[in-house]
């Protein structure tokens, strides 16, 4: 037990949290952007998986990291565009379509894996490039903090920077404004000449881009191979993370950190003599608990806010009406 605590309060643990956070934060932002557009994309799992696969395959055969990156992004974005086509053009239910695409991705990656490598489990036989890790100058020299923050995979830093870019996009650009407007009242957007379907498609493509980066990190950073169903539900935990984060950039990052913390603890507890199946359950269990607690809180908060408005708001309503009269 003591060993466990000393390892949890170690520098390595802090480092592990950021490492585990990366493949949650990316898809969580994908969920957030698509939800804001009013078409929640729960095909993150499949999009990540397919990006992870094509990244490794293209990387291994071309030897180029850039081509691997492009292939991964193209695969995931294409998958999300197919989802968009079903949802926006054919008017199919987006959740059912996404579930279908998740299963499709799981199947097609294994199928292609076997076709290409003759192995149904993983690509460990392929020499695939990985994204480099980066030591941040100066920061790396700071004791403790440097060890936690520096030396991560470049995609981890991309994830953190993306939170800021995501914020800029959604709240400081016309496209972001339009995505939000389309999500809140598509008729209103339509009435001022905004192409609703196109805007939603952009949001879905963006979610595909985020999913791709998350998937690529898994197979070309976290580890250096692709294995069957390696996303292991991260695309779904991301839904919880984005929901807890209120679909907001910073909130999504904080809740992703929270889930990463839980996952990291699970990894460390594995050193104790507890059946590993139970330990693997922890992050999912915490997800359920966290969602229940937070939505209960949110409900209570909403009630309190309304009660406060009721208490203080009546007068000002009257005033407004009175002035409206004159």
């Amino acid at each position: 037990m003591n060993e466990l605590f000393s390892s949890i309060f170690s520098v390595n643990f802090g480092y592990a949290i950021l490492r585990v956070m990366t493949p949650l934060l990316f898809p969580a932002m994908g969920i957030a952007v698509s939800t804001m557009a009013g078409s929640q994309n729960i095909a993150m799992e499949g999009a990540m998986l397919i990006a992870a696969f094509f990244g490794v395959i293209v990387g291994a055969f071309s030897g180029s990291l850039w081509l691997a990156l492009l292939a991964g992004i193209a695969a995931a974005v294409l998958l999300c565009m197919i989802l968009g086509y079903f949802h926006l053009k054919l008017k199919a239910d987006i959740f059912l379509s996404a579930v279908a695409l998740n299963m499709f991705s799981s199947g097609i990656t294994v199928f292609l894996l076997f076709m290409i490598t003759g192995d149904k489990g993983s690509t460990s036989s392929l020499p695939s490039p990985v994204f480099p890790s980066i030591d941040i100058p100066l920061v790396e020299k700071i004791p403790v903090i440097g060890d936690i923050i520096s030396g991560h995979n470049i995609l981890t830093y991309v994830a953190l920077v993306s939170v800021f870019l995501f914020y800029l996009l959604m709240f400081k650009t016309p496209l972001g404004l339009r995505i939000r407007a389309v999500g809140q009242n598509p008729d209103a957007a339509e009435s001022v000449g905004i192409n609703v379907n196109r805007t939603k498609m952009y949001a879905l493509m963006l979610s595909g881009l985020f999913a791709a980066l998350g998937g690529l990190y898994l197979s070309m950073g976290y580890v250096s191979w692709f294995s069957k169903d390696m996303t292991a539900g991260r695309g779904f935990i991301a839904i919880a993370a984005a929901t807890l984060g209120g679909m907001m950039p910073l909130g999504t990052m904080i809740s992703s950190l929270f889930f990463a913390l839980v996952s990291a603890v699970a990894i460390y507890i594995a050193s104790l003599n507890i059946p590993s199946e139970l330990i693997q359950l922890i992050p999912y269990l915490i997800t359920v608990v966290a969602l229940a607690v937070f939505s209960g809180r949110a409900l209570k908060g909403r009630r309190e806010k309304i009660a406060a408005e009721d208490a203080g708001g009546t007068e000002s309503v009257q005033e407004k009406n009175n002035t409206g009269d004159n």
Binding site: L168, G176, N185, A188, A189, V192, G193, D325
Partner: protein
Amino acid sequence: MSNNILDIKEIFKVYPDGVIANRNVSMDVQENSIHALVGENGAGKSTLMKVLFGITPYQGGSIEYKGSEVKFSNPREAIAAGIGMVHQHLMLAPDLTVAENLILGMEPLRGKLFLDADEAVRICREASEKYGLAVPAEKKIRDLPIGVRQRVEILKALARNAEVLILDEPTAVLTPQETDVLFKTLDGLKAAGKTIIFITHKLSEVTRVADRITVMRDAQAIITRDMDDLDEVKIASLMVGRKINTERIPAPVKIGSVKLSVRDLKYTNSDGVEALKGIDLDVRSGEILGLAGVEGNGQTELVEIIAGLMAPDSGSVTIDGTSVLSLTPRQIREAGLAHIPEDRMENGVAEVASVEENLIVDRYYKPEYNTRGRLYWKLITEKSKELIKKFNILTKSSKTNVGSLSGGNIQKVVVARELTSNPGVIIAAQPTRGVDIGSEELIHNLLKQARDEGKAVFLISADLDEVLKLSNRVVVFYDGEITAHFKDASKVEDVDLGPYMLGIKKEDAASGKMDS
């Protein structure tokens, strides 16, 4: 007629289902005027405006705008040409600010990439000042009352340089006071050189603000002329093709004992809002109690609790002295309640079921209609045909799906079922919402008839004319409370109700109880 800004000629529009919505409709609109477009529901007013605004294609006719022929294929083109439309359901994103909604689709940029939020607010303030329409630029739409939201919507059109402004039933959601403000706004816009086309079926509004009028009936334009000496009665008769009664119905002869009684009813909804703060009221046999109020002040909750669709936090509801709160809706109905729900598509009918199925849905289980689960369809069809005839329901047959009928006829199906269940208490929530004037008159007469037969009628309506026309007593609802009780409705005018509806005035200890 050289100062016509719009000349609509012989528009012919048939919908894919074969309904002719506009039959060679012509209408000219003079520049810088307020033009009222009136007609019953389904007369084709909204369709005509949709044609003009480029929302829907049409089959024949032409539109001349500012002297040259135009044909807009989408709203964007209409907006670009200087035509703006304020829809009945406001087109605003609730979580965006007023300024953001205003500049949506024509966002000012800072640099090449970013939105210029300051410029957005400036554009909003400038437009707001220019047209004298006060709006809080940086507040979210969600936090604004409906009247202000509508102002934002008007401003949105003006900021896009609209010269012709189409308003689709703008007063439907407003209180009398908010309506006054809107009309002042319209006068101001006219003074600023704008042309306003304003769709309504409230005739008092037409006589108040319109310069010219077009009356539509049965997909045709009956007349377009200056208002001059037109009054409400004349317009009404043009609209329906006959004179209708705008008088109040005579007071009841015989009022009996209390049938429905509500005491100290409290309800807090799932958002923590106290929707009902201790309601007391009585409805007696042989009278109509009207409940006036802006929608969303607890009326829906009150009705649904009485009908057994929701449970209150505390209080009591009795019908004929029996408490009904713990009963199921069917038991409550058997205790003598009929309920014409406010949302007929949600709670009134099953859209995909036939007219006859909908007519027997509250009684099919009775021995009269079945033996051990086998329904007597012959009898059901027969009885349904009687009701269809008696209630003047326009349907191809009793087996037609209710969903394919017009709103007025669907409502008649609901009314036919509810009034023939031999109730002692009738709750009529928004009984004539969205129905044509003919059906409205029929439903009003039926309610009056029920009253004269000694039933207790509780009428809930956002339409003050309706409340005042039918009721003998009126209570006013605001924010989950009864703010006034008028024991003699014949002495009340709609302006008397306004301050109570807005919560500006409140009678001490007001309730709908009958003492003695």
